[in-house]
Amino acid sequence: MTARRTSARRAQPGGRIERHPILSAGGPATVEFRFAGRPLLAREGEVISSALYAAGVRIFGRHHRDGRPLGIYCVNGQCSQCTVLADGRPVKACMTVVRPGMRVEPVAGRPQLGADDRLPPSGPGIREVRVPVLVVGGGPAGISAAIELGRAGIRTLLIDDKQALGGKLTLQTHTFFGSVADCYAGTRGIDIAAILERDLAALPDVEVWLDASAVGIFEDRAVGVVRGGRYAVVRPEALLVAAGAREKALVFPGGDLPGVYGAGAFQTLVNRDLVRPTKRLFVLGGGNVGLIGAYHALQAGIEVVGLVEALPRCGGYKVHEDKIRRLGVPVWTSHTVLRAEGREELERVVTARVDERFRPVPGTERVYEVDTLLVAVGLSPVDEILQKARQYGMRAWAAGDSEEIAEASAAIFSGRIAGRRIAESFGVPVRAPEKWTQTAAVLRSKPGREVPFAPPAAAGRAVYPVIRCVQEIPCNPCTQVCPVGSISIPDGTITSPPVFAGDCLGCGRCAGICPGLAIVLVEEDHDPTRRTAVVTVPFEFGDDRLPRSGRVVTTGFEGEVVGAGRIAGVRQRADQDRRRLVRLEVPWDDRLRVAGFRVQEPPAEAAAAFDPALQDDPVICLCERVRRSEVVAAIRGGVRDLNQLKAAVRLGMGGCGGKRCMELVRRVFREEGIDPGEITPGTWRPLDREVPLAVFADVADAGDTTEDPK
């Protein structure tokens, strides 16, 4: 598949991504399996959910309470929306690798328990593992901590529930901010993961378990770990929880439709499994997660119909927002998704403007036809195990998002510091340098103030960079790559905007590395008649996204249309990691305004009319299908204890254990005018995720169900 495409509109729904500007396409799909009797193919090692999405299957089953369709939601093993029957066993499609010949069936209602009563032979027994340090989570924080512990010579067990280390870094195809010296700024997340993993592999004191989930923590100071379908009881002297974050959700009608899911799910499908899950995407939330999700979608050849953010401005880095605007994605601030619509799957979203109290403004509704809504409305720490460990008197630490939600670069430092502190607690004198704490604080900082863009003093020279880094963010790669040292941050920090002063060789290294894509080069000597100039802009797409005509719509830094441009050439240097520099010939007067060009045209509104009479009672608890009205009735009936709410309406009683709804329900309390102080929180108990009884019984659960049900 190398057909040249100029528009994502021609992309097929479902299907696999055969070309990607950053990632290499996976191998061919050769593993035969069946879904509802239909023969399908999966890639080697692919999970069921991705293989089904690649085949265009988005409905995996129907809920036993109301028969509504179910599909993916978290794609992270946390919820149970994607449950299917694989060879007769209920499994999570997102965590179960397709085996050759596997018979996958949708779950219609409650699954039938297969009638196979041959007890498989017992395993070797449940392992008891005593280890000085257990690190839960092999993302940037967990790996960084384990590296420090390994270097300090402390025996450490690092577990991660995925098939590969790196955590969410493995989904981050974009280059990172931060400091080049300290945390690989300017390097892509996927490559940072590989660097960290390599550093870790050199340390003999660190043992790594992949496909290993911490499913519970128990008062005898044991962590239950399911690794590759086997159970182990790990008794660490010290515990580091670096389990990352989970995505927050939002309550709106239709939020339960297949096609509505989180950014993590989306990135997993697109960037890990190279599956194209959507043709037309809408994004809810203008934080970094939503903005980057939109960017990744564009790179995967998906049309991004729009992005809404309820706040008056996006919470993510301005450069992330601006780069998707430049590519042709409309970003509407002070807007929200009013509801999602569709009979069986998402077909359209209705947006509306919101007032300063976030109430939708009647008459501002707009309808967009999309098949997928990416919900990116914030993250919350995964720290239940940490809280329990502390309650049980264990030596427990947190790092990364489990400690505080921040960027991966901050997580690296947080992990390093935690690793050193744990090592110190074992008597190894490896105090973390004071500078680390300061760097960690800088990296954790939220986007800072904006400084007005100053037109370059260099204008008039033959060639010079235009740096539109107008917001204080911790980042410095541009200052490190200029071969003649002409770019610097005057106050010596890594947060203030950099300044160009001195010579420019026109090499383009600055434009090639800026993670925010905020630097372009202007060549004034291109046209002696000064009718045109060349603006060289960074471009992280393949040639297939360049129009054959060479004609493009140029856009200014914040995405405003400037005019017409012509592609005069494409440069790619070996040191420009999968990024191209596109030379645009533009009218002379546009030379200081052009910062990019569109890869998609802003979409039209759907013809479908908005029906204000249409009201739906949104689902709050997806697992047990508890609707908002039931919760409101319970609250008005006097319920203030979340445990009682669980008993009364079953909210939070499902497979995910309330990970999503327990936070949502607090909002309903607030909307009902209940003081948060009156609310008794729900009790957290193991398990953190559902586990087959076979695992605890130490008998095989797979591959033994081939006999026909009697």
Binding site: L113, D220, Y392, N643, A647, G655, T680, F696, V699, D701
Partner: protein
């Protein structure tokens, strides 16, 4: 609080909730106090919800027959669905010792009018699909027994009691029971003083502490049991199943499980060595042991997904028999305590009994049966209950 209450019930759990309902139904002005934030949040919600009248102790048989009647007609009477399922209890038998023990009490149970019979191995295998048949000798089956959701019942029972005028106050630990001479005059919490001439102690695992406020030594000591629940599957198992064999791992005395109306399997075991104390945190030992026992008995259960585990307290008396009585030392004080882990199934029967004692001075069950659950019995004279 100037208003006087006819009776104050201390504890909104398995015994207190239905007692409050029965008292309110008799027209009394009832106040229920609980130190926790909501109904049934103590040990009540840790119950697995099995309800059987097929005991060997006469008082328990009679009280649970009453409970069964109330649970099974709850929806018709009070309107709320409490997850009632009449699936019976089945005790499959693999050893001669257990067979002898169960067979020996069958006549007593039948004499008490209980619907229970000995079934052969084929019938048991039909009743408990997938049960291992090797060594299966048969077992007892009592189709009239059943299951209820303790979670739904707490909500429903509180609602029913409120509709009859009972009031509930939560997060109010009782700090004193005031007396004038030998009469109760009021119940005191940090939030208020509630005048009353009658107080019912239904304080579950806290019975000893609350009893001390009356100057009584209530011999209730909690020990703990762990339980767990799976995700739902299509209904396939009607009865609650009790395997009385001690576990081969040497840590369990027996274990039991059933499929609730949601389709979830709910399970529990009795530890061989009782774990005394109020600790309610889960241990790493429970799941491997119980999983092994479950899949060894019914291999297909291995595919079930374990969803949650918890640990609850059995408020135990020295002889393992409950206490329902009028306090003699303090006029106006009553006890419904020491439910020994069966408070949920006993609750409605106990509630009706205690309400009858409070309002009419006589129990709902036969005098000799009632005497056996007296607070004034000799707790250290071993009473052998064959079928605990």
């Amino acid at each position: 609080m100037s208003r006087a209450w006819d009776v104050v019930v201390i504890g909104a759990g398995s015994a207190g909730l239905p007692s409050a309902l029965s008292l309110a139904e008799r027209g009394l002005r009832v106040l229920v106090l609980d130190e926790l934030p909501a109904a049934g949040q103590g040990q009540h919600k840790a119950a697995i919800g099995g309800v059987r009248a097929t005991h060997s102790d006469p008082a328990k048989i009679l009280l649970c027959q009453d409970s069964l009647r109330i649970f099974s007609t709850w929806k018709e009477t009070y309107g709320d669905d409490i997850g009632w399922k009449r699936g019976g209890y089945c005790f499959p038998v693999f050893t001669e010792a257990v067979e002898r023990s169960l067979q020996s009490i069958l006549p007593i149970q039948k004499n008490a009018g209980l619907q229970i019979d000995w079934l052969g191995p084929e019938d048991i295998a039909r009743l408990v699909p997938g049960i291992v048949t090797e060594g299966l000798r048969g077992g007892t089956y009592s189709p009239g027994d059943g299951q209820v959701s303790p979670l739904l019942f707490a909500v429903a029972c509180e609602r029913a009691a409120k509709s009859k005028g009972a009031e509930f106050r939560y997060r109010e630990p009782v700090t004193a029971i005031e007396r004038a001479g030998d009469r109760v005059t009021a119940v005191v919490t940090p939030q208020g003083r509630y005048p009353t001439e009658k107080v019912l102690v239904a304080a579950g695992a806290r019975a000893r502490q609350v009893g001390a406020l009356l100057g009584l030594d209530v011999p209730v000591t909690p020990d703990s049991h762990e339980g767990g629940i799976t995700g739902p599957v299509a209904p396939f198992l009607d009865p609650l199943v009790v395997d009385l064999r001690p576990g081969p791992e040497g840590k369990t005395a027996n274990f039991y499980f059933g499929q609730n109306r949601e389709g979830q399997i709910i399970f529990c075991y009795t530890p061989k060595e009782l774990i005394v104390g109020e600790d309610r945190e889960s241990t790493s030992e429970f799941l491997p042991i119980v999983a092994r026992r479950l899949v060894s008995l019914i291999p297909r259960l291995r595919h079930l997904l374990v969803r949650r585990v918890w640990r609850g307290l059995y408020p135990m008396t020295p002889d393992g028999v409950i206490i329902v009585d009028t306090v003699q030392e303090v006029r106006g004080a009553y006890l419904a305590v020491g439910m020994c882990g069966q408070g949920f199934m006993l609750g409605p029967g106990v509630g009706r009994c205690v309400a009858s004692v409070i309002t009419e001075g006589r129990p709902t069950i036969a005098p000799d049966a009632y005497a056996a659950i007296s607070f004034y019995r000799d707790f250290h004279k071993a009473q052998h209950e064959a079928l605990k």
